[in-house]
Symmetry: C2
Subunit: 255 residues, 2 copies
């Protein structure tokens, strides 16, 4: 096997694990909703914001015999006493041990899927840092992995212009814009999940996205071709430009 082939298989592994994480997210969501429905026959008052917390609550608690102290150690004192009060006045049906255990095995399965997912996130990070170290430094390994997975290979990603990288993953919105020019083009695709974009005020997100996409395009070229580490320089530039954009925005607000 040539070196080129070996590198190519790393691309493909990174793509596969990235898509597997997406599929596991979908699966956890689907089965989590099913569990809420099912367990709701027995204890409809139990509500949790998060599907994994709900699953571990299902495996841990016994409506007829709530151990508030133990619950408090996992869910906090406030939530634990909420659950205890709800359990006392629950309008749910009484279920036999056997019926309940069938429902609990779904919760256990959801938790084991989440564990597999966490392992894959670690593996994705490792692969991304190996294959595209500059991109992983500048945008984070997850965004790097998603961009590579979306285009199919690092070499293909590296020849794209920054303006394309900026909207990768927002194809639907892009085609809507191309069909009808009155609809504005998308400002960001996959890179939206970078905290500096998603947690910034809406008005400056487009500018920050353009800056980040510029740096990522340079990083991708270095990762694919020159193999030099330029991430420190790119990160510094991105930090500076980000600070300038935010400063302009703040002074604009005061006027």
């Amino acid at each position: 096997m040539t070196v080129m082939e070996a590198l190519r298989s790393r691309d493909m592994l990174l793509g596969s694990v990235t898509k597997a994480i997406e599929d596991l997210d979908k699966t956890i969501n689907l089965l989590g909703e099913r569990l809420e429905d099912w367990y709701g026959i027995y204890f409809p008052e139990l509500k949790m914001e998060d599907k994994l917390k709900f699953s571990s609550a299902v495996t841990a608690l016994d409506r007829e015999d709530i151990d508030e102290k133990e619950l408090a150690s996992t869910f906090g004192q406030k939530k634990a006493s909420e659950i205890a009060t709800a359990a006392k006045g629950s309008l749910g049906a009484k279920l036999s041990k056997e019926d309940l255990s069938e429902c609990i095995s779904l919760a256990r399965t959801i938790l084991s899927l989440a564990k597999l997912r966490d392992g894959y996130v670690e593996y994705q990070k490792k692969l991304a840092e190996e294959l595209c170290p500059n991109m992983s430094e500048v945008g984070g390994p997850e965004i790097g992995a998603k961009l590579v997975s979306h285009t199919g290979s690092l070499a293909r990603l590296a020849i794209l212009p920054a303006s394309t990288i900026q909207v990768l993953g927002a194809e639907k919105a892009l085609f809507k814009h191309l069909k009808n020019r009155k609809i504005p083009p998308p400002k960001h695709g996959i890179i939206f999940q970078h905290p500096r974009i998603s947690s910034s005020p809406k008005k400056v997100r487009g500018k920050i996205a353009r800056t980040l996409a510029n740096k990522l395009a340079l990083a991708a070229k270095a990762d694919a071709f020159s193999k030099r580490r330029i991430s420190d320089k790119l990160k510094k530039e991105f930090d500076e430009q980000y600070a300038r954009i935010m400063k302009e925005y703040e002074s604009g607000k005061k006027k």
Copy 2:
């Protein structure tokens, strides 16, 4: 808790486990496709008609060191020698043990989801035979469970006319027909999966579906209200009518 309430919770449990089986089927399919993609990097020549067989092949075989005898015991001699030949000339990439083990853990998860699914099918059968014994005898526990789950409760199912039960689950086709009368109405919904319908010639499926739906409607009423066992009588009638329909069809073909 009143008797009514207790029965109601059985309805809901049957609905939940039936939907959980559907969700697990979707999940196994989704993750199975992901696995085929991922493992294809390493051994693209491996093909199996069934996603679960593919998953167990992934956990069992080692491309570099095929044990044909052991494979033959699981997949049959013909498939085993096919795999062995493909492995020798494989165009797949060489992967490290670590990379391979990440892929294999997806295969293991798929197999454990299938095991959970099989357990739920058993549980569904048990609940259906308890809640709607007549329907379970006449149409099989799976169809009984799906009909109850589709309408939400046995009591609601029992007051539906046979013609509605016949097309439950084919709502999309029914509404297409109602919008445009040139499109023929559906002949069967959930009950299509009964072997006497799905494996019969297309021409007589509608007639058999109507007969089965008639018997199921009577069975549902007995299950929900009188609680008498009338399944032997219904089954006998269905057998006779099925035989008559098939005889008519055969004699019509000869002319």
